[in-house]
């Protein structure tokens, strides 16, 4: 059975890039355009993995991750956060709110796919 990944980003370009890479690697992809929608989709779709951009409207990636960890239905789903910051506060905050791993923009396909495979397999 194909694994399902929820990708949340307010950038159409980032969403299209992530969706293209993941779909080519035989994952099913659902998308959300902000943190609030990501939490709702996570509850409805029960994905195997969530990829959350840090900067999003309504609810940013940190808040969304905190909420996902609070909810019974979503707390066990691995989360990868995506940020334009290569170190420091973003990463620290991400791990504090419970993300499992990080990738930085610009999106580098092999790195993203390797981290996805580490968390949920092929």
């Amino acid at each position: 059975m194909r694994k399902k990944i929820l990708v949340a980003d307010d950038s159409n370009t980032a969403l299209m890039m992530e969706r293209t890479l993941l779909a080519k690697s035989a994952y099913d992809v659902v998308v959300a355009k902000d943190g609030r929608e990501a939490v709702r989709q996570a509850i409805e779709e029960s994905p195997d993995l969530i990829i959350l951009d840090v900067v999003m409207p309504h609810m940013d990636g940190f808040e969304a991750c905190r909420e996902l960890r609070r909810l019974e239905a979503t707390r066990g789903i691995p989360v990868i956060m995506v940020t334009t910051r290569g170190g420091g506060d973003d990463m620290e905050n991400g791990y504090e709110v419970g993300c499992n791993d990080y990738v930085t923009k610009p999106i580098h396909g092999p790195e993203l796919l390797s981290k996805v495979r580490n968390l949920i397999g092929e």
């Binding site: 159409n12 370009t13 293209t20 334009t84 290569g86 923009k105 610009p106 999106i107 796919l113």
Partner: protein
């Protein structure tokens, strides 16, 4: 019966083939990623009919696929010998509202049609032209209709990769035609491209 030596040879060969397969897979994944970047860039930039959305797509491509949050997009105003700023991000826009054709790296790129690319990225400590990573003339049918100026790369990005240069080529052609089309579309009151 197989000798120990024969088994060891097979194991070594097996390991060599495994390494080869892994390296081919990695190479193929990198190629798919590069092609995906180019596909996404072309598709995004042509995904809208209005100018703000096209400009926003160009900014998203530079941020998400190339790796800079400092940029400016200009349009050529040949009648007045200048470039006018259409959109900017992460820079102080004041000094860039108007750039005289031929002046500075941006003005020269517009006048000559020759791109400037600094593989190692713009200076992280100096401003102005020194901070430029790339000046990309936006061309339609050999005419420079604008310039994309990309300043500092994100600190963790380090330097430009081969695919980034390909992305600049894509933007040089496709951002130019997409921007030109938005103008035609607006001038036609939305009738261009409407069903006959």
């Amino acid at each position: 019966m197989y000798t120990d030596e024969y088994v060891q040879d097979l194991q070594a060969e097996n390991e060599r083939l495994r390494t080869l397969v892994d390296s081919l897979k990695a190479e193929s994944e990198a190629q798919v990623s590069n092609l995906a970047s180019l596909y996404v860039a072309v598709t995004s930039v042509h995904g809208a009919l209005d100018r703000p959305t096209v400009l926003s797509s160009v900014q998203e491509i530079v941020t998400n696929l190339i790796g800079s949050e400092e940029m400016a997009i200009f349009e050529t105003d040949a009648a007045h010998g200048r470039l006018t700023l259409l959109a900017s991000m992460g820079i102080e826009p004041g000094p860039y509202q108007e750039v005289t054709l031929g002046e500075g790296a941006i003005g020269r790129a517009a006048e000559t049609g020759e791109r400037l690319i600094r593989q190692e990225g713009g200076s992280l400590t100096e401003d102005g032209d020194a901070a430029l990573t790339a000046c990309i003339p936006l061309n339609v049918a050999g005419r420079v209709v604008g310039v994309l100026a990309v300043f500092r790369l994100l600190p963790h990005k380090g330097s430009l990769d081969a695919v980034d240069i390909d992305l600049f080529d894509v933007l040089a052609a496709h951002a130019a035609s997409a921007l030109l089309f938005t103008r035609l579309y607006a001038a036609s009151d939305g009738s261009v491209g409407a069903p006959a």
